[in-house]
């Protein structure tokens, strides 16, 4: 009965935290001891009813506040993810993406692990310490129904979720004809006699160009071959961009960062030019070859070391037909590399005079739309720009920095803008659709839009979308002020689904909870969508990490990883135990009270800069330069060979 009364008093006090229950209990007991002459001993039924009634009433009236204040919201998801990844056997990532090669990791106290597909089995490579690696190649392992995990020949273990590829036309090319590539489905959509036909291409088509004779050149992220019409040229995996000048094709690659010049008349490689940073956009401006890098935030002239620095990555790069100007879409221009004000973006198109090699104009686009994602430049003075976050196609007058026309598109999340023979096409990966602007006709290649795609790209009233900084669900590799009092680097969100809680401070128990952030801090959305959090979750589940050449790590590296105690927090198989630590416990120079979520090390190589505030530019620096107190692992235990093995292991993840 004392407990029931204590709950009532606690409810009356009104604090939505549970700790004061101790004080209210003691107060009730004390008052009863002092003032009640006789001890009231209720019947069991009375006591139980009083207790349950008080608890139910308090829970009903104040439960939501308590859940929020005590950080219990989403705790079920957090505990479920932690349990799934820390029990054995376990596998990470929990989702198998059928459109790309990947390495999955299994953890079990077992002699063998295998992934069992419909009609094939993929044995895990034992790496020691109970860790197994599965080198999945969608070309070799046909999966249509399910994937099950087999441990020591026993198939009782749960199945993995499968993300089946769906058409996602994003970028394309125009010339004698128009073509669009769909990377997940290895498909090339070609405009043929007023209609679109789909034809298969090699693994991971990432970009295309059209030759004068109508042949289409296609670059592939996962296949080493460059397709030229019906022929092929061996280039190497990791092709991400193409540019054409006459019979010369420039192929931008990320494995390693380079540009390969190909002569399509002889189908031969003319030259390979290494780049200082991984490219993502390449274009010819006259004779000059320009390359934009998302990681370095630069636009470079190939063969020169005077790259222009923007402080933000190029969302898109194109050049005018004259070759005099280059146009770069940015989310902001921060030439000092600073974060800028809190949650600040200032989207713009930067105009570069290629001869003078300087910025001659900056056209702020916030008034025209949000997230300028595709640019077509018919001449030096006019641009056609698609805005992915506001579903608009805007004609921009370069000289006057003004919008001349605006088309509200019937498709969402427009990306590429393609123009040929007086026809303009805008491509939507979200709807797997290509819209013919002049004919106002849309061709769709999937029955339903991809769930959550629009939610991720849709702008809030502040003009900011998830995709603004997490560009195409990756990262802009930039620092932002997001209210921590100091800049933080953007996290890559690919492959994070199923690793609750989220963000560096573990401040969001679910991905969908980030919707509250958009509503509270970024002004919310114009469009009401009841299940937007669930849509965001669904979209991010489909965004897995991509690596042109997945690598199975060496066992020696696993051994070094364990000996250096990395595994204590970066636990197998997801390389995180999904736990948090106070920043100060790891980095004694930090005296603030933030906690730090243990990040997964999967995809580590592609997620620089490292550590909580991006203080380490390389993995090497994380291990050897930023742990003077030896609280971040026990690297000192490793000899030189062990250190090299550990570094190679981390690079391979």
């Amino acid at each position: 009965m004392t407990l029931a009364l204590a709950i009532v008093v606690w409810w009356l006090v009104g604090l939505p935290i549970l700790a004061p229950l101790v004080a209210t209990f003691l107060a009730v007991w004390f008052l009863a001891a002092v003032f009640a002459r006789e001890r009231f001993v209720p019947s069991t039924t009375t006591a139980l009813l009083a207790l349950v009634g008080a608890a139910a009433f308090a829970g009903y009236t104040r439960g939501a506040d308590v859940v929020a204040t005590e950080q219990l919201a989403g705790l079920d998801v957090v505990l479920a993810d932690r349990w799934r990844l820390t029990k054995t056997p376990a596998i990470a990532p929990p989702v198998l993406h059928l459109d790309r090669p990947s390495v999955l990791f299994g953890h079990a106290d077992a002699a063998s692990m295998a992934l069992v597909f419909d009609d094939t089995t993929l044995p895990g490579a034992p790496l020691g310490h109970g860790l197994f690696a599965f080198d999945f190649d969608p070309g070799a392992h046909r999966v249509t129904r399910s994937v099950r995990l087999e441990v020591d020949g026993d198939r009782e273990v749960a199945a993995l979720d499968i993300v089946s590829p769906r058409h996602e036309p994003r970028w394309g090319c125009a010339g004698a004809t128009v073509a669009v590539v769909s990377e997940p489905t290895d498909t090339l959509f070609v405009r043929d006699g007023g209609a679109w036909r789909a034809e298969p291409t090699l693994d991971g088509p990432a970009a295309c160009v059209v030759l004068d004779d109508g042949r289409i050149v296609v670059a592939h992220r996962y296949d080493p071959r460059l397709r030229v019409g019906t022929g092929e040229i061996e280039i190497g995996v990791g092709q991400v961009g193409l540019a054409r000048r006459g019979d010369r094709i420039a192929v931008a690659s990320i494995e390693p960062p380079s540009v390969t010049i190909v002569d399509v008349t002889t189908s031969s490689i003319v030259e390979r030019i290494p780049l200082a940073a991984p490219p993502d956009w390449v274009t010819y401006a006259g004779e000059r070859l320009l390359v934009a890098s998302r990681t370095a935030h630069t636009l470079a002239r190939v063969g020169h070391d005077d790259a222009l620095y923007f402080g933000r990555p190029a969302i898109h790069l194109t050049s005018s037909p004259s070759g005099r100007l280059a146009f770069v879409a940015l989310t902001d221009y921060r030439p000092d590399g600073d974060a800028g004000p809190n949650h600040h973006v200032n989207e713009q198109i930067v105009v570069v005079d290629v001869d003078a090699w300087r910025i001659v104009e900056r056209i702020e686009t916030g008034a025209f739309g949000a997230l300028p994602t595709g640019i077509h430049a018919p001449d030096d003075d006019m641009l056609l720009v698609s805005f992915a976050a506001s579903n608009a196609l805007v004609t921009i007058d370069v000289k006057h920095r003004a919008a001349r026309a605006k088309v509200d598109l019937p498709i969402v999340v427009p990306h590429a803008v393609l123009h040929a023979n007086d026809d303009t096409f805008v491509v939507s990966p979200a709807e797997a659709a290509i819209h013919h602007v002049e004919a106002d006709r849309t061709e769709r290649f999937e029955a339903e839009p991809a769930r959550g795609y629009r939610a991720f790209y849709e702008a809030t009233r502040a003009g900011v979308a998830c995709a603004t900084c997490h560009l195409h669900a990756t990262t802009d590799f930039a620092f932002h002020d997001i209210g921590h009092g100091e800049p933080r680097s953007t996290l890559d969100v690919r492959g994070t689904w199923g690793t609750a809680p989220y963000l560096r401070g573990a401040s969001y128990p679910t991905i969908g909870a980030l919707h509250d952030f958009a509503e509270g801090v970024l002004g919310g959305y114009e469009r009401e969508v009841a299940d937007r959090p669930a849509r965001l979750e669904a979209f991010l589940k489909t965004r897995g990490r991509e690596r042109a050449r997945p690598v199975v790590p060496e066992a020696a590296g696993v051994d070094a990883f364990v000996r250096a105690d990395c595994v204590a927090c970066h636990a197998f198989p997801a390389f995180t135990n999904l736990a948090q630590l106070p920043e100060a416990s790891l980095f004694p120079d930090r005296r603030d009270l933030n906690v730090l979520d243990t990040p997964s090390l999967l995809g580590l190589r592609d997620s620089a800069p490292y550590l909580l505030d991006g203080r380490a530019k390389t993995i090497d620096a994380v291990l050897f330069d930023h742990d003077p107190a030896e609280r971040h692992g026990s690297i000192a235990r490793l000899d030189e060979a062990g250190r090299r093995a550990l570094l190679a292991f981390l690079e391979a993840l």
């Binding site: 407990l3 549970l18 009863a32 204040t69 219990l72 505990l79 105690d565 204590a568 609280r631």
Partner: protein, 178 residues
């Protein structure tokens, strides 16, 4: 048989044994000691709270008290392991951080219960039985502390909550034995 020395010795020996196994690395050592002492305290508290389940097999009240006092002692040890380290970089977190707030409140409740558990004090405390229902508040707060503990075994909060509810219901149903 004197239950309290036995439980203190047993739980102390268990903690001493596992602490010997603690890793050398400073942070991992702190984490290990924190976790192990927390588990020992939790085990003692659960043992105390689950005594009603065993009451039909004999007189368990002395063991209940012994385990409760042991829980208070090892909760104090747990706090002593954790508070001087950077795992709690600022004592204000004992108020602001739900995890630490629940832990601190549990400690306060258990210390009150332990202090009022011994003969002379217990006899002078009015409404002693009413006061010692505070053990269930302590159990609930300990479960909350465990649920929010980022390094805890994930199913543990469910197990602890299940045991707590079972214990409360059992005690209510079997009240005459107490």
């Amino acid at each position: 048989m004197r239950p309290l020395p036995i439980t203190l010795a047993l739980f102390g020996a268990a903690l001493g044994f596992v602490v010997i196994l603690a890793p050398d690395a400073p942070l991992l050592n702190e984490l290990f000691r924190a976790r192990m002492s927390g588990w020992v305290a939790m085990a003692a508290l659960l043992g105390s709270l689950s005594m009603p389940l065993l009451s039909r097999f004999g007189r368990v009240a002395p063991w209940r008290r012994a385990l409760g006092v042991t829980a208070a002692v090892f909760t104090t040890v747990h706090a002593a392991f954790v508070l001087p380290t950077d795992l709690v970089p600022d004592l204000r977190l004992l108020i602001y951080e739900p995890l630490l707030r629940a832990g601190a409140a549990t400690l306060v409740a258990l210390v009150v219960l332990a202090v009022t558990s011994f003969g002379a004090v217990a006899r002078r405390v009015p409404r002693w039985k009413d006061l010692h229902a505070l053990a269930y508040v302590a159990g609930a707060l300990a479960a909350l502390h465990l649920a929010l503990s980022p390094h805890a075994w994930a199913p543990a909060p469910l197990a602890v909550c299940g045991l707590l509810v079972t214990s409360v219901l059992f005690r209510a149903a079997d009240k005459k034995r107490w």
